[in-house]
Each structure stands twice: as C-alpha cells, then as structure tokens.
Symmetry: C2
C-alpha cells in the first residue's frame, strides 16, 4: 500500500482533511450479507476476487480476505478509514479491496455486498465522485447489481436506497471549538438535511475537533445535486471556521491563541504518558497553530501523520508488539516527543 | 539588602522552605497602635530609629519609615515575608527595620508596637529563636516593655499575650497534595494545638502547595517547650511528605510522577500567559521533580528564586514598570521561559 490520502494536503486543506464518496451496491439474486448463508457470502467474495482484473485499466487494486489479515492490520485499515469499525470484527466471509495509493477501497460483505469508497485529501467531492463512478461502472460491466428502475440501487438499509451514495467531508474545526461556536455551527448543519459524525463515522466520538459531514438520504436527487448541496453547506462551515481563526488572530486575542498553541506543544514534547484522546486534542491545537503561523518550524504533514500514527493499532505496529494500555500511553508519549523534536 | 533566606537551603530544606520566629512586644505606657494617637505612634517610631545602634554589636540593620518607601517596594517586602500584608497599607506612622541579610525584620506599629521577626532557611526553630531572643534583649536594654510578671508580655491581641512568640515553619508539601493526603495531614496538625496557614500568613490562600504551621497560643509554656512541640509536629508532617515522595517513586508510580513533572516543565517553558497561582503550582511540581531527581539540569535554588520573582511586585520591579494584570501574565510567562531555559 502506498502513500495514504491522510498525509497529503488537498483543496481547502487547512480545514478539510479529506473527502469520501461511498457507494452501496448489492448483487442481484443474492441476499444481503445479514441474511446470506455461508455459501452465498462465499459467492460474493468469489466475484469480488475478480475486481482487480476488472479495474486494471483504471488502477492497481488488491483483494484481501479479512479472515486472513491479522487483527492488528485490520485495526490499521480501520484507523486509515479504509474499512469500517464493524468490518474489523467477525471477519467470516468478509473482504476488502484496496488500491495502491489507498484512494479506493471496496468493502465486501459489510452491511451491503459492496461498499465502494473513494478517499481524497481536501475538498474534492466531484473528483472523488467521478472516480467512484468509474470504479462502479467497471464493476457493473461484469456483475448484475440489485437495481429497481423506479427506486434505484437496492441496499440493506433503506436510508441508502436510491443512489446508494454517501458523500462526506472530514473537517478540522479547532477555532470554532475554541470560541465555543462548534455546537451552534454543527446544529445548523443538521437543518440542511446533513449529518455530523465523529472521526470513525456513525456513533463514533469526535476526537481532535475532527468532524465528518455527510448527506443523510441518498434518494430523490441525482448524485451531483446531492454533492453540490453538501459542498455548499461544507463551504459555510469552512467559512465559519475561517472567521473564527481570524478572530483568534486579532490583536487582543493573539497572545491567548499563542499561549494555547505553545502549551499544547509544551505538553506534547514533555509528557511521559498520554492517551489517544488527549494527544489528538493537543495535536489539533498545534495544527491550528501551524495554519495560523503561530508556531514555526513544525511541518503540517508530519503533525497530520502523527495524528494517525498515535492511534492504537498504528502505534503497536510501529513498536512491533501488542501492548497493554498503560504501555501504549507511555510509548505514544515517547513517539510524539521524538517526532516533534526532530 | 543582601541575599534573602528564601534563596538558600537549610536543614530539611527539601521540604522546609523556612523557619520564622516572631515576637510581639509593646512599649510600656504607650497605647497599642490601634488606639494610639498620632503623637504616640510617632514616639514609637522615634524609639525604633535608635534600634540600629542598639543592635550594632549583633548585626547591621536599617530603619525605614514606610510612608517614605514606594508602594512597589513595600509590596516586595511583603512578598519576601519581611512585612505583613496589613503593613503595606495605610503606612501612616509605620516603620520597618531590616537586617542586611534579611534574616531579621522588625515591624513598627503593626498590630503591636514591635513585631520582631527572624527568618531562616530550612528547619531551624531553636537557632532562629536564639537570634530573636538576642535582638529582643538588646532592644529591651534601652526601652521599657509592657510586661506583667504573672502573665508575661502584654499584646494587642489576647492570643499573643504571654511569651508574645509565634514560631512558624513553611513547608512544601507537593507529594501529599498529589496523593490527596494533604487534607488529612493538615487536619491532624490542628489537633495538636497548631495552626495551618497559607503562603502569606493568616487568612491567605495556599499557593504552590506551601503551608505555614505555627503555634496557636503563646501562653502557659516556655518558648523552648512550645518550639519543641512545633518541631515535633513539623517532623511528623515532614515524615508523611517523605513517605508520599517515596510512594511516588515506586516502580508502578514512577512514570506517572515523571509525567506530572515534565508536563509542568513543558507548560512553564512554553506558556505565553500565566497567572501567579498557576505558575506557583507548576513550579512546586518542578521543585518536587528536582527533589526526587526526576528532572535533571535544573537548579533547586533558581526554581525557588523564581517562585518569588514571579509574584506581582517582584515581577514589576524586574520589568521596571507597573503593569496591568494581562501584561503581568505575559511578562511572567516570558520571565519563566527565559529563566528555565538558560
């Protein structure tokens, strides 16, 4: 697997960490995964194994049967947002297809037979959609999807019926959090028919002031219309965050903002024990400090990379061993000190 | 004025910052300061002006009329514990006599006509008492004290009648605070007829885990008996603090203790705004770290010195100007960064 989208910066990259398009697809005449028997699940997997050749003209992808992937590696895929938390558990009959640059992943036998995902850095909804669409077309050339001419694509959960599409943008909103406006802004997002989620999607907590905004329904509008709507609302949130950042830079607030950023730096470069949650919060503050040019000599990309490396599975992989929680906090602190000081 | 006791280390100096003996004395036939008229207050001051010559055979002292001392300098004397907070206000008719090493100070027309104080680093109750006694004798050779053969020295407040003596030890108790045992230990102190006070005496808040323990009554026992009792209780508290420190060094607690100390260091060397209260708390943690050899390359005495320099008046003197509170927080942070990094 190559360079992840997480480490790269894209359009509006100071606020938008990434864009995700997900298409839910199912094979015609095979029951949805929740009700499929072992043989049927296997049938889906067998078909999915052919996708690398279907997609060859577009990109290099690789098929993995999840039961054959070590638990730690599955966790890492989850931390990279390439598979969902649910997809790391009960691996029976599950698979994933991942492209070499990790911009395409296809979960097999998750809630639907196929969950085609495209992940891009920054705000690139249209571009991500185009790639997802290409992937979808190349797959559809060889298989028969469950599709109803009146309703559209059929999915396990009614909320995905229709286009089967969910577009998401992952936003870093530290300044809104700092001036206590995050609640207001995120509430207004839901008035536009969009959903706000934490770092790892549905039901997950928000860490490090990172939020995902997605369309809630996938029926009744074209994909491009829905993405256009999502982009417009995202732009509003980006605007609010940008205003909050300008506010933090105003003469009377500047020292307090610097104080916040340098305290975060001081703790991260000195702590001997640190949880993922606290580390993400402080790294978020440092990232803001870099974006506002309040703290020199730190690279944006290394801080973003660190925000992934400190997560449970990544950390254990870096350390080459599975670790009890207290050891993790110690090694996480030590990794952060080393990375930030170099 | 020379080197203050505050910067030096004395016996049990890892826990006992200093020892203070205070004798309350009044002139016979002159009303106590609260009820004396202007002329009578002046009479006291005039007598006190002769003390430098009375004390010459012992040490060099200097008389200051407080009305002629600038406000900032008065604040500094208070922060050095050479005069009380009350003695910095309404300076009319008030004076102070200070020895060149700042180990002796005599407040004139505070609550009593004279408050003879001796301040020593570390735990040195007997030695401090001997010096206070010498000062007292040399003064008494030339003036007539208000004294009742049955009761002893007469004082403005009944609680000081008798010996007029209060012995105090100033203790740094960060480990007891850390393991949440401070309340218990300090409560037990009061069962022994002793009083616990904050940094600047009566009614003052405790900052930086620094507490003063003093005898409550000054009647009914000889000075040496009372000091012996105080010393014994102080030793108990010192013991508890020492056990708490050992506990913090135990294998299973060591990393968490290091974490605490380094976080304090990280914040102090990076913050851009800091209040006296927070700074004292963090410097207290660093001092503990030095005492437990958890943090190398920092000098105990410079940290102790910094604990005084960051206080309002000292800070303004160092900066050469009077400052609004927010500016103080900024310059305090900058002073701390500079001092700790060198």
């Amino acid at each position: 697997m190559g360079e992840s989208w997480i480490k790269k910066d894209g359009p509006e990259g100071d606020i938008v960490l990434g864009t995700r398009i997900r298409l839910a697809r199912n094979f015609a005449e095979i029951p949805f995964p929740a009700v499929a028997n072992r043989e049927q699940a296997r049938q889906v997997l067998q078909q999915a194994k052919q996708f690398p050749s279907s997609l060859r003209q577009l990109t290099n992808v690789k098929f993995y049967e999840l039961a054959e992937v070590e638990e730690l590696e599955r966790q890492i895929l989850m931390e990279k947002h390439l598979i969902s938390p649910e997809h790391t558990q009960n691996t029976n009959g599950k698979g994933v297809i991942i492209s070499e640059h990790e911009d395409i992943s296809i979960m097999v036998n998750e809630e639907d037979h196929l969950r085609i995902q495209v992940l891009f850095p920054g705000l690139q909804l249209k571009k991500a959609w185009e790639l997802a669409n290409q992937v979808d077309d190349l797959i559809e050339a060889n298989v028969k999807y469950a599709f109803d001419p009146d309703i559209g694509y059929l999915t396990a959960c009614p909320s995905n019926v229709g286009t089967g599409m969910r577009g998401s943008v992952m936003l870093h909103l530290p300044a809104l959090a700092r001036i206590n406006q995050l609640g207001n802004v995120l509430r207004s997002v839901s008035h536009f028919g969009l959903v706000v989620r934490g770092l790892y999607g549905e039901g997950s907590e928000s860490f490090g002031n990172i939020y995902q905004i997605s369309n809630q329904i996938s029926l009744g509008h074209s994909e491009l219309d829905m993405l256009d709507h999502l982009a417009k609302v995202a732009e509003q949130v980006i605007n609010s965050e940008r205003q909050a950042r300008q506010y933090l830079l105003q003469e009377q607030n500047r020292t307090a903002s610097e104080d916040q950023v340098y305290r975060a730096y001081g703790i991260l470069t000195n702590a001997r024990l640190i949880t993922t949650k606290e580390a993400l919060k402080l790294l978020s503050t440092i990232l803001l400090g870099i974006d506002l040019a309040l703290i020199p000599d730190l690279e944006r990309c290394s801080v973003k990379e660190l925000m992934v490396e400190i997560r449970e599975a990544h950390l254990q992989k870096i350390m080459g061993q599975s670790l009890p929680p207290e050891e993790r906090d110690r090694l996480r602190a030590s990794l952060i000190r080393e990375r930030l000081k170099r």
